[in-house]
Amino acid sequence: MEKGRIPSTQLASLVIAFVLGSSLLFPPGGTAGHDAWLAIMLGLAEALVFVLIYTHLARRFPNHTIVQIIDIVFGRYLGKLVSLFFIWYLLHLGSLVLGNLAVFMTSAALQETPIIFFTIMVALVAVYAVTGGIEVISRSSTLLVTLLILAQGLGLIFHVPNMELSRLKPVLEAPLDKLLWAGHAAATFPFGETIVFAMIIPYLNKPNQARRSVVRGLLIAGLFLAILSARNAAVLGPTAGISLYPSFVAETIINIGRVLTRVEIVAGVGFITMAFLKVAVLLYGASLGVAQMLKLPRFEPIVVPLAMLMIALERINFDNVTENLAFSRVTYPIYALVFQVAIPSLTLLLSYIRVPARR
């Protein structure tokens, strides 16, 4: 079905793009105040456990996506149901990312433009990328991630005069329960969401390197997010705590000799490209999943319908942005566990009981 093969380095960059997708807009760990960077590190550690589960599953069933594995393990009928749940998650997550991006655009720049305009535009590009296959998505991720890290790295240097590192003190000020919850929230968003790569790992040219690439990508992206989070707190101070998009607002502060100013649009474009890649990966995973679940000969014809579904879902997700915030702070860290931990670990467990290893 998918003929393309991607090298493991590209998988790492794809993981980076995926993780940064909407977390550049909504930095994880925000509820921990200026300790957010610590929460991100905790979340990263927790999510590495999630990664071990699904990469182990991928090792036990080489050349099988998680949907195919579920089909083998749970059997023909129950398997379809579980796969449906999993695909629902990918679609729902895609709609959330589309929403994040669109709400950012309408809050920060184009306030009067209807949200659906942004979701359709991003979904269109994602559809184009997905029909090109996994090779297209992963190659564009290498290019775009390089550009983003370059731009953000330069931005970090430009921020040095505005940084007051004392604003990060006292470390560990957030109460432990709050910090742990913020860490867990960071594990489920964005790190644990890499479960979608269980749909992509079989298409590596060297599948045995999958775990190493995913972990490497995750570590780079996690470190990057932690640095950005610390930078936001050091540059913006308490104002970071009331900002909906602190990473974006921090960029507006850059002022090098009154010449280099107003560079936030560069960062904004970077955020959009990462969100596009995340949507593309999710759309790809969902399309491939549906095709494999229904044993269709090709996945390309269902990309457009699924993208339309994603756009429609975005419309009904939330009435307003505060609903979105409440969902991501309270509901999502538990909701996501079903798909990021429960389904893969249940599959893994059952596979030991019901299916002899295929090596």
């Binding site: 433009t113 004392s166 000020e173 101070g237 104002t239 607002v249």
Partner: protein
């Protein structure tokens, strides 16, 4: 045949892409924008209303005036390169929007450089006034915040020499304060951070309009001090300087005092300054230790003594340190009098001694008033510039 079909599809597709590329809902053409350079907020005549003054750039006039005979001065107004528009409403936002009644163009805030708040409005609290400017995506956090000693509209209605747009001139004046350090350089982000702090008192540059020989001019000096978000008083030039020494925001400036022979003044020019403030615990009570290291040059002398001798320099260093310390003490006693922790000592203790802070926080207001503050100033006079003796014959 196949190629031409593909070609046709491509043409159609690029045609399709032309639709979104031309822009859409939020299209703004330059000639439809009224670019705001400075904005002022005052209380309205009716209770509960606000008057917002916006200084709007007239680009055509700037082009004319720079090419021709220079700026023509209106009758004491802000000049003809800007238009000072006014709107009234029960909120600053409504007041700004109400300007549609007089403005042909929509006000555009990303280039706004200064936010001036009138004294009476500031006394009622600035949080409700500034919310719009922090929340809305158009204004920028780098705009300077100034408190007018009278009406903000008067400040924005006054021309600033050498600047075709007065509001930009005010922003430049605030920037230029580094040379004398008698007014803080406070932007919206700084005010926002202090408003969000539990203990640190917000400050802003103080601005007023002075009339000399019928010519009005804008003066930026001193600092306005808030507790909570309400204006409670001000620091004069000396107290402001003292505060800037403590917060390590001194750029340069003149420090002057009597010559060792007492006849006239010596002026030191500050080249560099570095302040360390540390909290130390001494038999149960906390003491703030402030150490200021100043490097200065002998900038000028008005007395007739020969000062370029080692013993004399040592004495100048001592006298300079005393002069600086006295500004610092003036700032501290004024801050304690106003019960305004403008130095951020509370936040500093919070960061460095979270345990002590837990005990201090509930009674910080009182603890700040009783806080022991030790000031140590070390001045180094390194150079005497180009001459060694005053302009008098050798003895």
């Amino acid at each position: 045949m196949l190629i031409s079909k593909r070609f046709l599809a491509l043409i159609l597709l690029s045609g399709l892409f032309m639709l979104p590329l031309s822009g859409c809902w939020n299209r703004r053409e330059l000639e439809t924008l009224a670019i705001v350079a400075g904005v002022g907020i005052d209380l309205g005549e009716e209770p509960g209303t606000f008057v917002v003054t916006a200084q709007i750039i007239k680009p055509e006039e700037i082009m004319n005036s720079s090419g021709g005979s220079g700026k023509e001065q209106g009758q004491g107004g802000a000049g003809n390169t800007v238009w000072v528009a006014e709107g009234t409403g029960r909120s600053p936002f409504e007041a700004i929007r109400n300007m549609v009644s007089v403005s042909t163009r929509k006000l555009y805030f990303p280039h706004n450089q200064v936010i001036v708040i009138g004294k009476e409005a500031a006394e009622q609290g600035i949080s409700p006034l500034l919310d719009l400017f922090v929340r809305d995506p158009e204004p920028r956090l780098s705009a300077f915040v100034l408190i007018a000693e009278g009406e903000a509209s008067e400040v924005l209605d006054t021309a600033v020499e050498l600047s075709s747009v007065p509001a930009l001139g005010i922003a430049q004046i605030v920037e230029a304060q580094r040379a004398q350090s008698v007014s803080p350089r406070v932007d919206l982000l700084g005010v926002s951070n202090r408003l969000l702090s539990k203990t640190t008192a917000p400050i802003a540059s103080s601005v007023h309009v002075r009339e000399v020989k019928g010519q009005k001019s804008v003066h930026v000096e001193g600092a306005a001090v808030f507790t909570g978000d309400k204006l409670v008083g001000g620091f004069n030039r000396d107290e402001t300087r003292g505060m800037l020494w403590i917060t390590d925001e001194i750029g340069s400036g003149t420090v002057q005092f009597d010559c060792p022979d007492g006849s006239s003044l010596v002026i030191l020019e500050v080249i560099r300054s570095n302040t360390q403030s540390r909290l130390i615990e001494r038999n149960g009570s906390a003491t703030m230790q402030i150490t200021v290291d100043v490097t200065a040059n002998l900038g000028s002398q008005m007395c007739m003594q020969t000062l370029s001798e080692s013993e004399m320099i040592a004495q100048l260093e001592k006298l300079g340190s005393e002069a600086i310390a006295s500004s610092i003490m003036a700032a501290i006693s004024k801050a304690k009098e106003l019960q305004a922790d403008v130095f951020g000592f509370g936040d500093q203790i919070h960061r460095e001694f979270p345990k002590i802070w837990r005990e201090l926080e509930p009674r910080w207001q009182q603890a700040f008033g009783e806080l022991d503050i030790e000031v140590a100033v070390r001045t180094k006079v390194r150079r005497v510039s180009l001459t060694t003796r005053p302009l008098v014959p050798d003895k």
